[in-house]
Structures are given as structure tokens and as C-alpha cells.
């Protein structure tokens, strides 16, 4: 085990634990904050895998904007606290079982498929190389995506406005 692997494992453990806390916390804001930790750790993992540009985007978009949006949303939809158990539905046992099944199933599949493969550690994710790929090979997808984003923007505005009229 070298340093890279140790750092990755550290980030991985932090990510899993904080994800668990985020999904089980009774305090909604705590959940959002634990999610910040998770997403940050995943960004750290990206860095370890030398995908630094993706890591920065992750930090900027997720940690920076999405989580802020979520926290705002949580604040705007605050309800009277109804006790700890009110935050999970009666469905939780089925949900837990399915989560475990999904995790174990996927884990087993990838283990069976990629046991012994290694990541060589060459630099793959500089901003330059990603930019080249994005604007040479993926430009059509990029443009389509921008249209989708515009549509989402307009849609969000329309939806929230139509709700406010009542």
C-alpha cells in the first residue's frame, strides 16, 4: 500500500460514513452539511485519481451551489418538528434491505469483473486536456446540454412562479 492508496481509502471512509450520517440524521440541516462532507470527500477521491478538473467542478457546483440551494430549500419548507422517527417512513426496512442488496450486488459484480486491475496513475484530468476533449469531440453534446440547462432554468422559474400565485 502506498500513500496514494492510503489517502484514497481515507477519503473513501470519510465519504461513506458521512453519507450514512447524511441519510440517517434526524436534523435536516445536519443531513445537508454531512452531504457537503461526502461530496467533498468524493472530490478528494477525484483528485487522487488525477481528475483534478472534475474535482474542482464538483466542489464548485455541488458543494458551492447545490448544497446552498438545498439548505435554502430546507429553510423555506421548515415544518414544525414532529419527533425523530417522523423523518423516515415505515418503508425504511424495505429500503435498507434494498440499499444493502444494491450495494452488495454492485460490489460483488465489480469485484468479480475487475479484480486485480490497477489504475496506473498517469495524469488524465488537466483542464487543458478536458477542454480539448470537450470542445473537439463532445461539442454537440455540450451544446445540447446547454439547451437542457436553459430549459431547466426556465422550467424552474415557471414552476415556482405558478405556485406563488395562490
Amino acid at each position: 500500500m502506498n500513500v496514494t492508496e492510503a489517502v484514497f481509502l481515507l477519503f473513501a471512509i470519510v465519504a461513506v460514513v458521512s453519507a450514512l450520517l447524511a441519510m440517517t440524521s434526524h436534523q435536516l440541516v445536519h443531513s445537508a452539511l454531512w452531504l457537503v462532507v461526502t461530496l467533498g470527500s468524493v472530490a478528494g477521491c477525484f483528485v487522487v485519481m488525477t481528475a483534478e478538473f472534475v474535482a474542482w467542478v464538483q466542489v464548485l457546483v455541488y458543494v458551492g451551489s447545490v448544497v446552498v440551494l438545498v439548505i435554502f430549500a430546507l429553510m423555506m419548507t421548515r415544518q414544525p418538528a414532529a419527533g425523530p422517527s417522523a423523518e423516515v417512513t415505515g418503508n425504511r426496512w424495505a429500503a435498507g434491505a434494498l440499499g444493502i442488496v444494491a450495494a452488495v450486488g454492485l460490489g460483488a459484480t465489480v469485484t468479480a469483473g475487475f479484480r486485480g486491475e490497477r489504475i496506473k496513475g498517469q495524469r488524465i484530468g488537466t483542464a487543458r486536456s478536458i477542454g480539448d476533449a470537450l470542445f473537439h469531440d463532445w461539442v454537440l453534446g455540450f451544446e445540447i446540454l446547454s439547451v437542457v440547462l436553459l430549459a431547466a432554468l426556465i422550467g424552474a422559474i415557471v414552476i415556482s412562479r405558478s405556485g406563488s400565485e395562490h
Binding site: 417512513t89 418503508n91 424495505a94 429500503a95 434494498l98 442488496v101 444494491a102 450486488g105
Partner: protein
């Protein structure tokens, strides 16, 4: 009287028509058969008549008594609010009896036979406000109708055996399969003529109006049973079993009936038991194979029993009750009734020169013959029945005397004589009871024996009357009629009642299980599926995820 004459006229027209039909046939031994409507091949019911001497005699008896009863009823029941339906049902009753008598098709006979049962049900239940009338009528109808089912099945057997339902053709074909047929017919006859063990309905039918009792006991209903066996005697004679059974039933019934009659405290009920006993005499004669003796006794009994019942009705009209304790000393105030009923009681007891003496003489002679081994019956049985008949004659003479003494002698009571419309028929019947003895065969030895026995019976009772001053008989077992009615009055209704309750309970809780359980299963399944269709997004998502997991697993496992 104006509201009564149409019904009397109707009955009279019917009687005259029947008489005009019957009288030319009186001496015709072979009979005349006439087919009015021929049946088709499948149903095989033809409207056919057959009238011979036997049928003609019974027809005359039926319409004669019927007409007298109808006249009598104008006074007895004339002011009853339901006189109209009563009189019409009597006419229907007579028509049904005539149908039975003249029918040459078993189904036509059955129609008359059962319509008669219905008419007796309606007439016995005429005073349906009272519990006794209701239950007596229901009992009469049920017992006779259930017994009639024997006739119904018997007819089916006849049809299958002979290939025809015509009585004359069946008789002409000679006996076949006769034990089964005779036994089935015997059931119906035993029920209709109130023989042991189906005898209990007749005394319980006493709540019916007294003229009706006279009609049922003398001329219609019970006479039909005797007539049926007399008509079909060749079939019965071919079966030793049926004849033996008939003789045994007759022997038991005649003695039981006479003993019960002796112990009664009610005049009408005593006369009812006397009918049961006298009918058994006729069956004994038939069992001995002597049709003429049986028919002669049927006719003379019809005359004197109608006389006794109508006379009893006169007494009830005067006294207001049929209980013997209410009567006594009526001979002074009701001399005509007294005279007529004296003739009737004498005929019942078998005193010379009444018709009853001669016809009973014929029956005893027939039984005496049967003991010689000339008939179908085994000798021993013939002898036993003969001695039982002698014993019954003794008891009969005793109870006839007892009833006569208690009703007409003793402390004098003042009552009015019955109206003329009632007295007239009684006198006519008294005359008939004497006239019918003209030209009857007479057997000196048996006649002497029966006269001695009758004299002994009368003498014993007169001696007891002189000695004690009353004729109360203390025999509780006889007064309760040996509890022979218990199976019909209590056990059978209780059995049917509890079976009925059981069936209803099983229907509700047992048979209904499958519809109810299928409803439960449907509800259960619906609730299970309702969990899936919960209108809850997360449930849907869970189900979808589980489905994906299962499908993936299935794909992995089976590829």
C-alpha cells in the same frame, strides 16, 4: 231458507244424475266401460269410466248420504257466515268421490282420491278459529296424503308392469307383480280408511262440523279405501303377503277401535272409533276374499253410521256439546231422535232385524269360511281373525248399549226436538237401516252365534247400569288410546322441526361458507394488492427497485 236452496238443488241434480247413471247398472256384474277422452302415448291418461254393480251401489250410497247431509246442513249450519263455501265444498267432495268410484283410469282415480283428501281438510278445518279444528284438519290431510304417496308409486308400478293405466285392462290382464302393487296400494288404503297404524287422524277429525263427519265416515273418504280394495281384489288375492297383512291390520284395528269406543266420554269421538272398528270388519271380509260381504257391510254401515252421526248432531244441537256427561234422559224430550238412534245403535250392535245384523252376519260367515282354507289366508290366521271379530262384536254391542243408555236414559233433561230439516234425513236413514236388510243372505248358525254374543254384550251393560247406576269406565290406558298417537302428534313433528332447524343452520353456516370465504379471500387479496397501489411515491419506488433487483438477479442466475 232462500240462500240455501241453490246448493241443495245443485246437490240434488248431482244426485239424480248419478242415480240415473247408477241404477241401470245395479245388477250388472261385468260393468260398462266408456272412454270419453283417449290419452296420448306418452302420458297415457284417458278419461274413462267403468260402472258395475259394486260401483253403482257405492255411488248411490255416496249421493244419498250426500244429499241428506246437504239438507241437514241447511238447518245445522245454515246461519254460519261461511255456509256458501261449506256447501260448495260438499258438492266438490261428492264429485270427487264419484270420480273415484266410476274412474277406469288410475290417474283419474288418484285425482278424485286426493281432491277428496283436500275437501276433507277444508271441511274438517271449517271452524278454523279453534286450535283443535286446525290441528285435526292438518293431521287428517297430512296422514292421508302421505299414505296416498303409496298409491302414487303403486300406479307407477302398475303402469310399468302392465303398460296401461286403465283399471279394466289391468284387471283383464291377470295379476302380475302383485305383491309390490298390493302392498303399495295397501299403504294408501290404510291411510285413507284410518286403519292401524294410521288410524289416529279419524278421531282427531271430530272438531269438524257433525254433518261432515257423517259424510266422511259413512259415504265418502273412508269408504273409498274399502271400495278401492274391493275393486282391485283380484290383484290383492294374488298376493298372500298383502292379504295376510290386510287381515292382521283388520284384526288389530277392529278390536282396538271397539275398545277405545267403549272407554270414550264423548259421544262423537266414540262413534268415530266405532267407524274405525267397523271399517276393519269390511277389510277383514275383503281379506277373506268375500267382496259382497264387505260391500254389504259398507252400505249398511254407511246408512246406520250416517244416521248415528246426524242423530248425534241433533243431540249436540239441543245440548250444545257432544260430551256424554252433558246428555242423559233425552228420550222424552226428543222422541223422534231417540227412536231413530235406537235403530242405529241396534244396527251397530247387530240386533235382528236391522241391516247391521245381516251385513255383519255376512262378514262373520266369510271369516268362518276363510278358516276352512278356502281363501288365500292361512287357516290359523283366518281362525284368529274370526275369533277377534266375535270378541269385537261383543265389545261393539256393549259400547253401543252404553252410549244409548247414557245419552237417552237416566235423569230427564228438558230440550227441544231438532228442526225438521234435521229430523227428516235422520228418519230417512233410520228407514234405510231397516229397509237395507230386505233380501240380505242369512246364515243360521253364525246368525245365532252373533245374536247370542250381541245379547251378552247388551245384557252385561244393562246389568252394570242397573247395579251401579252409571256407566263410567275407569281405564286410563284405554282413555288415552294406548298413546298410539304419540309418534304422530309429538315425535314426528319434533323430528321434522329439529331437522328443519338443522338444515337452516347448515345453510347459513355451512353451505354459505364458500361464497363467504371467497369474499374473504378476495378482500384479503385486495388488501395485499392495495399495499402496492398505495398512492405513495416511495412505495412505488421501492417496488420498482425491488423489481429491478429481482429481474437482475433472475437475469444473472438464468443466463
Amino acid at each position: 231458507m232462500r240462500r240455501h236452496w241453490p246448493y241443495v238443488a245443485l246437490t240434488a241434480v248431482l244426485s239424480v244424475a248419478a242415480a240415473a247413471w247408477a241404477i241401470p247398472q245395479l245388477d250388472d256384474d261385468h260393468g260398462t266401460t266408456h272412454v270419453w277422452v283417449r290419452g296420448d302415448a306418452l302420458l297415457g291418461v284417458s278419461l274413462a269410466t267403468h260402472v258395475d254393480g259394486l260401483a253403482a251401489q257405492v255411488m248411490l250410497l255416496a249421493v244419498g248420504v250426500g244429499l241428506l247431509v246437504q239438507i241437514y246442513s241447511t238447518a245445522y249450519l245454515g246461519h254460519h257466515p261461511r255456509y256458501r263455501s261449506y256447501a260448495l265444498i260438499i258438492v266438490l267432495f261428492l264429485i270427487a268421490m264419484l270420480t273415484v268410484v266410476v274412474a277406469d283410469d288410475f290417474f283419474v282415480l288418484l285425482v278424485g282420491w286426493e281432491v277428496m283428501g283436500l275437501c276433507s281438510y277444508l271441511l274438517i278445518g271449517h271452524e278454523w278459529q279453534t286450535t283443535e279444528a286446525r290441528s285435526g284438519a292438518a293431521k287428517a290431510f297430512l296422514m292421508t296424503r302421505i299414505a296416498d304417496l303409496g298409491l302414487l308409486v303403486g300406479i307407477l308400478v302398475i303402469g310399468q308392469t302392465y303398460g296401461t293405466y286403465r283399471i279394466s285392462e289391468v284387471l283383464a290382464a291377470g295379476p302380475k307383480n302383485s305383491t309390490a302393487i298390493a302392498l303399495l296400494l295397501l299403504i294408501a288404503v290404510v291411510g285413507k280408511s284410518a286403519q292401524f297404524p294410521l288410524h289416529t287422524w279419524l278421531p282427531d277429525a271430530m272438531p269438524g262440523p257433525t254433518p261432515i263427519t257423517a259424510l266422511i265416515h259413512a259415504a265418502t273418504m273412508v269408504a273409498a279405501g274399502v271400495y278401492l280394495i274391493a275393486r282391485l281384489l283380484p290383484i290383492f288375492e294374488a298376493s298372500e303377503l298383502a292379504m295376510t297383512l290386510l287381515a292382521i291390520i283388520a284384526a288389530i284395528t277392529m278390536l282396538l277401535g271397539a275398545l277405545f269406543a267403549l272407554a270414550q266420554t264423548d259421544l262423537k269421538r266414540a262413534l268415530a272409533w266405532s267407524t274405525v272398528s267397523q271399517l276393519a270388519f269390511m277389510f277383514a271380509a275383503l281379506a277373506a276374499g268375500d267382496r259382497d260381504a264387505a260391500t254389504n257391510h259398507l252400505l249398511s254401515h254407511g246408512a246406520f253410521k250416517a244416521l248415528l252421526f246426524l242423530g248425534c248432531g241433533c243431540l249436540m244441537h239441543a245440548v250444545g256439546s257432544s260430551s256424554l256427561s252433558a246428555m242423559g234422559g233425552l228420550r222424552r224430550s226428543m222422541p223422534v231422535t231417540f227412536g231413530a238412534m235406537t235403530i242405529g245403535f241396534a244396527a251397530l250392535a247387530g240386533v235382528v232385524p236391522t241391516a247391521g245384523f245381516f251385513s255383519k252376519d255376512g262378514v262373520l260367515e266369510a271369516l268362518h269360511h276363510a278358516a276352512d282354507g278356502s281363501g288365500v289366508l292361512p287357516d290359523v290366521l283366518g281362525e284368529i281373525v274370526f275369533y277377534v271379530a266375535l270378541a269385537t262384536s261383543l265389545v261393539t254391542a256393549a259400547y253401543a248399549t252404553r252410549l244409548w243408555l247414557v245419552a237417552f236414559f237416566g235423569d230427564a233433561k228438558e230440550h227441544d226436538e231438532a228442526p225438521q230439516a234435521m229430523i227428516g234425513p235422520v228418519v230417512a236413514l233410520a228407514a234405510a237401516s231397516l229397509v237395507l236388510s230386505i233380501g240380505q243372505p242369512f246364515h243360521f248358525g253364525i246368525g245365532l252365534l252373533s245374536t247370542i254374543i250381541a245379547a251378552a254384550g247388551i245384557g252385561m251393560v244393562v246389568w252394570a247400569w242397573r247395579a251401579q247406576g252409571n256407566l263410567d269406565i275407569d281405564a286410563p290406558l284405554l282413555a288415552r288410546e294406548l298413546d298410539l298417537d304419540a309418534p304422530y302428534a309429538r315425535w314426528l313433528p319434533a323430528l321434522v322441526g329439529s331437522a328443519a332447524r338443522l338444515v337452516v343452520a347448515v345453510d347459513r353456516d355451512g353451505v354459505d361458507v364458500y361464497p363467504r370465504s371467497s369474499a374473504t379471500i378476495a378482500q384479503f387479496a385486495s388488501r395485499g394488492l392495495d399495499l402496492l397501489q398505495s398512492r405513495n411515491v416511495q412505495r412505488y419506488a421501492t417496488v420498482i427497485a425491488a423489481g429491478v433487483a429481482l429481474l437482475t438477479a433472475a437475469a444473472v442466475i438464468w443466463t
